[in-house]
Amino acid sequence: MVAEDFKDFKLKPMKCELNYLSKSDGSAILAQGETVVLASVNGPLDIKITSQSMEKATLEVLFSAKGGKPNVSDRFKESVIRQTCETAILGCLYPRTGITVTIQELEDFGGLLTCAVNCTCLALLNSGLSMKHVVAAVGCALDDSGNLVLEPTYDQIQSAAATMHFVFDSRAKTLVTGFTTGIFSEGAYDEALERCRAASDLVFDFYREVVATYCKVIG
């Protein structure tokens, strides 16, 4: 699979503002197309002795949907984001402390979880916590005729045979997190993985752009 074949694709337009919340140590609001997520990072904080860890910082992730009662799928999203961020944060630098990540859904038009992962990463960058690498999430859908659609819209997800979401790290572009729904062949999985891997470059470029614009203001 040659990555150059996919050079012409585009992701949904991304828009981001850092330091959106004044009380949090780091915060970001990110729009990917019409999906919008707000994330805040607080830490390292003083936490209860029972939840302290000798070796590394305890990461707590809270996901809050727009309305309605909290449910099991929120817990699932929290677990995905916590596991993903744990690999990225250098928690061993902050033993016996806690890091709290709070994510608020604002709009969901498909790709909520990928947007949440990217937004959390931007908020972590903004908070100044030490990180091993940054992560980028990209999603794609497989339609009934076997075509791959990068960053599907809400309607495309509803009609898709399968959806696949991948999170890559910035250093070696290896897979950090991946999850799928629906049935698909091995070939389709490999193609989706390679495409998303190539597309993750665009997300990393966007991170760089955001950080650069904010750095200029200080410098």
Binding site: V72, S73, R75, F76, E78, S79, V80, R82, Q83, T84, C85, E86, T87, M164, D169, A172, K173, T174, L175, V176, T177, G178, F179, T180, T181, G182, I183, F184, S185, E186, Y189, D190, L193
Partner: protein
């Protein structure tokens, strides 16, 4: 002596084994544990199965119930899966409401079964908008020694395969329900989804993939939630999940899927033999 070593310096203990290309229990990296499967282990349940994957033991029981379908989906029955991790199976679990980990495991098992489309929920409907079957599938872990999702999926699918639904007659006028236990038909199950877990160990040199990890191996590889789970069904993938933990080396990616495919063939054979 080695037990003491394991307790006082688990990381070093584990790394010493891995650097010699062997796992603490003597397996090779891509070797799986032996499986024992028994169908209809519980006579009270409508269908049941018991599995032992190495030390991991899970029992699954299915009970049947009749209910009215939801208004939004009048021609669908219900398949309710639940995984229970009791304090009995590991010292990590405390009595009380299900922990976050148990909720995530339940959610994963439910997702895999739903994604594999092995059960058509329309088959569970008897009369549209009036009567449908509810399958309560309860999986209880008796001993947790890693790769619990693999064991759960296998017991669940074995139980579903052996489940037969009694004939039901429904009188539309009087809304009277008659269940004929003597006349039973087997539930239609398409394919046999089989999940395979991998743990990824980040050794200083490279990342090493361990097939069918034990609890100790899972702990060494970034915690219980960080496994890679690959699920095959009839030559198609129906779920590839991995949440954090060690990164998968690009070169071993293809190989992983093949290992999972081979294992799924073997497990399928085990299920077929067990039920025949």
């Amino acid at each position: 002596m080695s037990d003491v070593y394991k307790v006082i310096h688990p990381n070093k203990y584990f790394n010493d084994y891995i650097s010699l290309n062997v796992r603490p229990d003597g397996r090779k990296f891509d070797e799986q544990r032996s499986i024992k499967l028994n169908a209809n282990a519980i006579s009270n349940a409508d269908a049941s199965a018991l599995i032992k994957c190495g030390n991991t033991t899970v029992v699954c029981g299915i009970t049947l119930e009749l209910a009215t379908p939801k208004a939004e989906e009048p021609d669908h029955g219900f398949l309710v899966t639940n995984v229970e991790l009791l304090p009995l199976c590991s010292s990590k679990f405390k009595p009380g409401p299900p922990s976050d980990y148990a909720q995530v495991i339940s959610n994963t098992v439910n997702d895999i079964i739903k994604n594999s489309k092995c059960i058509d929920l329309k088959d569970l409907c008897i009369v549209s908008d009036k009567l449908a079957w509810v399958l309560y599938c309860d999986m209880v872990c008796l001993d947790n020694d890693g790769s619990i999702i693999d064991a759960c999926i296998t017991t669940l699918i074995t139980s579903l395969k052996s489940l037969s639904l009694p004939a039901v007659s429904f009188d539309v006028e009087t809304e009277e329900v008659k269940v004929d236990i003597s006349n039973k038909t087997l539930l239609k199950v398409t394919g046999l989804p089989v999940a395979t877990s991998f743990a990824i160990y980040q050794s200083p040199e490279s990342n090493i993939v361990l097939t069918d990890p034990t609890t100790f191996e899972e702990e060494m590889c970034g915690g219980i939630g960080a496994n890679l789970i690959v699920c095959w069904n009839q030559g198609l993938l129906c779920g590839v999940q991995k949440y954090g933990g060690g990164n998968i080396p690009t070169e071993s990616q293809k190989n992983l899927l093949q290992v999972a495919k081979k294992r799924s063939k073997l497990v399928e054979e085990v299920i077929e033999t067990c039920l025949s």
